[in-house]
């Protein structure tokens, strides 16, 4: 199945080229996705799925829109 994923700010280095249509397996969780992308769990501070805050354990579904954030505190 495919999902949309956006890696914000400094996580942009991990943004997949096919982020608009990123293939994941049935049953994959957010954490599985982070592993697939090569992200260090420590770096990802906040995850949103379909506009809502989500835990790493959330199972992904077809068409899900995932947003990943690092710490951001600049001013």
């Amino acid at each position: 199945m495919e999902i949309t994923v956006k890696c914000f700010a400094s996580l942009g280095a991990y943004q997949p080229v096919n982020g608009d249509s990123f293939p994941v397996q049935d049953g994959n969780t957010v954490q599985d996705l982070l592993n697939r992308l090569g992200l260090n769990l420590e770096e990802v501070k906040l995850v949103f799925v379909n506009g809502e805050k989500a835990p790493l354990t959330l199972r992904l579904n077809q068409g899900d829109r995932v947003g990943l954030f690092p710490a951001v505190g600049g001013g």
């Binding site: 501070k45 947003g67 710490a71 951001v72 505190g73």
Partner: protein, 293 residues
């Protein structure tokens, strides 16, 4: 200057005779001029009437607005802001924490719009790397206090509001005095630990907080009421994305605009738009999304 018709001064209000108020209102009306069907009061008129009647220009402007006379400095706020909202704004008290990148723009915007009482704190001085984004940073100001630079500049932009600065970095016990009697706090800090501390304090002292932050060309805004957490997850750890990406001027300006608009809405009597939400703007791809916590 004596306060006028504030909730804190109900007793004092009772001692003002109806005649005195009517006198002042009459003089406001006499000194006002008509333009496009509205009665306008010039800056000089506000100043001279305030002096004459021993009021602050702020109180004088409120009195004018209550009697349908518009201080000229706010004329272009109407009618996107209603007169009643402008009065609410002039009567409101904001605490602004930080006068650097976000803080400079926020101060500029909320002061021009007419937030009546602003108390701002910053213990830093300007350095050259501030030039890329800090509105009040000038090449002839390195080593100068950001708080004092703001005080000097604001006096020439809006001398009719009450603007005070603390030339210090807030921490611990300082916060209690700083946040006392404030209706709203705006977070214009840089860094993670300091933001965690600010939230802890606003939560403890029961004041809502409009926060915002930037890294590179992206940023976010969120509004956090006591008991809520907002984007506290984004303030964990030792270093933020801004340490590797920097902070671009237009990202800072945009986030500051969002924070300012949200603050003005809340203070003027409207509902917050970003409570329990994370509004994210990314100028790298010009995207905007509002997430729910």
């Amino acid at each position: 200057m004596r306060p006028f018709f504030t909730d804190d001064n109900v007793n004092m209000k009772k001692t003002w005779t109806v005649n005195r108020v009517q006198n002042i209102v009459n003089e406001i009306q006499v000194m006002s001029y008509e333009q496009d069907g509205a009665c306008i009061l010039s800056i000089e008129a506000t100043q001279s009437l305030a002096e004459k009647f021993d009021l602050s220009p702020l109180d004088l402007d409120c009195l004018a607005l209550e009697h349908d006379v518009l201080p000229v400095r706010y004329v272009k706020n109407f009618n996107a802001l209603q007169v009643k909202e402008q009065i609410n704004l002039l009567r409101s008290k904001v605490a602004l924490v930080g006068l650097g990148g976000l803080g400079g723009y926020i101060l500029e915007l909320i002061a021009r719009t007419g937030v009546g009482s602003i108390l701002a704190a910053d213990g830093d001085v300007y350095e050259p790397s501030n030039l890329n984004r800090q509105l009040y940073c000038r090449q002839d100001k390195f080593g100068q206090s950001k708080a004092l630079a703001a005080k000097e500049r604001l006096g020439r932009i809006n001398s009719s509001i009450d603007f005070q600065v603390w030339e210090k970095t807030l921490q611990g016990q300082n916060y209690k005095g700083f946040l006392r009697d404030r209706d709203l706090v705006v977070d214009a800090l840089g860094g993670l630990k300091v933001r965690r501390e600010l939230l802890q304090q606003t939560d403890k002292l029961n004041v809502p907080l409009v926060t915002g932050a930037v890294a590179g060309e992206m940023g976010y805004v969120s509004t956090i009421y006591p008991g809520e957490h907002g984007p506290i997850d984004l303030w964990q750890g030792q270093s933020g994305a801004e340490d590797t990406l920097g902070c671009l001027s237009y990202g800072v300006c945009l986030v500051a605009s969002l924070q300012s608009a949200e603050a003005v809405h809340i203070l003027s009597g409207r509902k917050p738009s970003f409570r329990n939400k994370l509004a994210v703007c990314d100028l790298k791809d010009f995207s905007w999304q509002v997430f729910d916590f």
